[in-house]
Structures are given as structure tokens and as C-alpha cells.
Amino acid sequence: MDNMNMVENYDNNKIFAKIFLWMFIGLLVTFGVGYYVSSNEIMVENIHKNSTFLIIAIVEIVLCIVLSARIRKMNPLVAKTLYLLYAGLTGLTFSVIFIIYELESIMFVFGITSIVCLIFGLIGYYTKIDLTKLGTFLFMALIAVIIASIINIFIGSDAFNLGICILSLVIFIGYMAYDIQVIKRGMYGNINEENLAIYGAFQIYLDFINIFIRLLELFGKRRD
């Protein structure tokens, strides 16, 4: 039997309840830290100075690699700690968003993102269409987006950024449905329930953050 197919039978309702709880906790940490740090503009500037931001970025990538590679054998408490640490670090870098955009706008876009994620999450959960076949296509499109995004850091073209933004939205909305279906079908292999909840939460947390930032770029209202 293919190792990627169902190995353990989980109670899906229980698993998804835990996943969404941890996703919510992660988002709370991120936005809470971001909002708190944004009250000190000098601190925000210090975070975004070259070496500090680079260190944060490296630590985030390392945490992601560790969570991805070791989640199956990791102590659940360690997994939760690493996940929350990642969410906190993202909050530090997120602080600039609270300075640039109006708070009401951020909350509005957060609401829109939640609705979008809910809709496509439900589609992923209930659809009989095999979304896992989309995985390769979405991944290739993701590579294209990241290359384009890096190029646009140097070009700084608003029109190009708009195109990247819309494409990214489509990709990550697709990934939201895809990830939910992968979790539901138990395609993560042999992993205990607690760690699956953290891992699943981490997956859709990342999808949520990407969708949120793109929607904020499109619909967010900047401060004067």
C-alpha cells in the first residue's frame, strides 16, 4: 500500500478541531506580537535593519525545516513550542504592517481572509475531486511566484507586483483546499495525533498568512 495513503484512522472532527485551534493560537500570537511591537516605531526599524531581520529570517527557515523534518518523532510539547516561536518571530516582522496599514483595514482583511479560508477549507474537506493531483502544479506555480517576487524587490514595479499578488492568491487559496484534503485523507503517514494537529495547523497557518498579506496588498488602506 502506498505509504502516503491512510495509515492511521484519526477522528477527523477531533483532529480538525485541534488543527484550527492551534492555527487560531498561532495567528493570535503573530498578530498580538506584531501589534505590540508596532507601538514602538524605533523597535520596528531596528528589527528591519539588515542583520536583525536576516537573523530572524534564518531562524524562521530553520524552525520550518526542523518542524517539517522532525515532526513525526518530536515531543508534542517541543512541537508546540517551536510552532509558537515561529508565530512570535513572524509577529516581529509583521509589526511593520500595523504601521503602514490602518488597524480597521487590517481587521477587515483578516475577516475576509478567514471567510476565504473557511470556504476553501470546506471545499477541500467535502469535495470528492482529488485535489492532491494539483499538488505538483501548485508547487511549480509557487516557485514561479517566489522567483518573480525576488525579482520585483529590485524592480519595484507596482504592475508586476499586482500580477504576482493575484497569482499568489489563486495558488494559496488552492493550497488551502489541497492541504485540508491531504490532512483529511491522512496522507502525512505515521504521526501521532498531537503532532499532526500542530503540523496541520502550521500548514494552514502559512497558507492563511500568505493569503492575508496578498489581500492586504490589494484591499488594505494605508495610513496617511
Binding site: F94, V96, S168
Partner: protein, 146 residues
């Protein structure tokens, strides 16, 4: 791999947003060096002809090129009390002519607000200078203040 790329994309997005933010900070370029505060680039050279040459040569102030500062500044502030100091009309004519060249050059780079603080003195030369500067201000869409 997908998760790592997700994280990378979020980092790139934050960098992009921050870069936009750092260029939209309220930036004031002060010539004549009389105001203090955050996000103010002070320019210490008080000779108008030297300022013109520095702009043409794209001199660096606080690790930033002067042309870039002119482009990105939300406000450019010139204090004539520190830039023009004439005791005769010949000097005044020259300074006003140089000032006009400076304003043309600034308007080439900046479409934002330029404020000129007029001379405080009440003598004839100062009044004449202020009148001429106000004509220039109207011509180049500049705000004057005392």
C-alpha cells in the same frame, strides 16, 4: 519543501512591504539647518552655488544621495536667513539668480512641497529680496513663510 518556500515567500513579502514603507516615511530635507527632528536630512552647505553643484554631482548625505533625498522627501525646507546674507544689491541680484537656478533644479527632482522661510530683517535689501523670492515662489509653486 512547500512549507519552506511558504516561509520564504512571507519573508520576501515583508521585505517588499517594508521597502515601500521606508520610502514613504515623512522625510524633510532642510537646507539652512534650522529644524530638528526624526527623518530630517540636514544640509550644512549655506552657499547656494555650492548646493547647486552638490545636487548636480549627487553628493552623499548620511549615506543617501542628495538626488534621492530630493525625490523621496515629502517636504524641502530652505531658510533664506542662513542661505542669503547680502549687504548690497549686486550681491542680492546674484543670490536671487542662483536661488532661481536652485529652485529649477529642485523641481526637476521633487514634485512635493517646498517651503522657503523669508528673511527676517526689515531693511530695504531684505524686503527687496523677499519680494523677488515671493515672485519666484509663485512661479515654481513654492510656499513662503516668515
Amino acid at each position: 519543501m512547500k512549507r519552506i518556500i511558504n516561509v520564504f515567500i512571507i519573508i520576501v513579502l515583508i521585505i517588499t512591504i517594508y521597502n515601500k514603507f521606508s520610502y514613504q516615511k515623512p522625510l524633510v530635507f532642510s537646507l539652512g539647518n534650522t529644524i530638528n527632528g526624526n527623518y530630517i536630512y540636514k544640509y550644512n552647505n549655506t552657499r547656494v552655488t555650492d548646493i547647486i553643484n552638490d545636487i548636480k554631482n549627487n553628493k552623499t548625505i548620511d549615506n543617501r544621495n542628495i538626488q534621492n533625498i530630493l525625490v523621496k522627501s515629502s517636504t524641502i525646507y530652505l531658510d533664506l536667513n542662513n542661505l542669503i546674507n547680502c549687504e548690497n544689491y549686486n550681491c542680492t541680484y546674484t543670490n536671487i539668480s542662483d536661488l532661481e537656478k536652485l529652485l529649477i533644479l529642485m523641481r526637476l527632482y521633487s514634485k512635493e512641497r517646498i517651503i522657503i522661510r523669508l528673511l527676517n530683517n526689515q531693511n530695504d535689501i531684505a524686503n527687496y529680496t523677499n519680494e523677488k523670492v515671493m515672485i519666484l515662489a509663485k512661479k515654481y509653486d513654492i510656499i513662503t513663510m516668515r
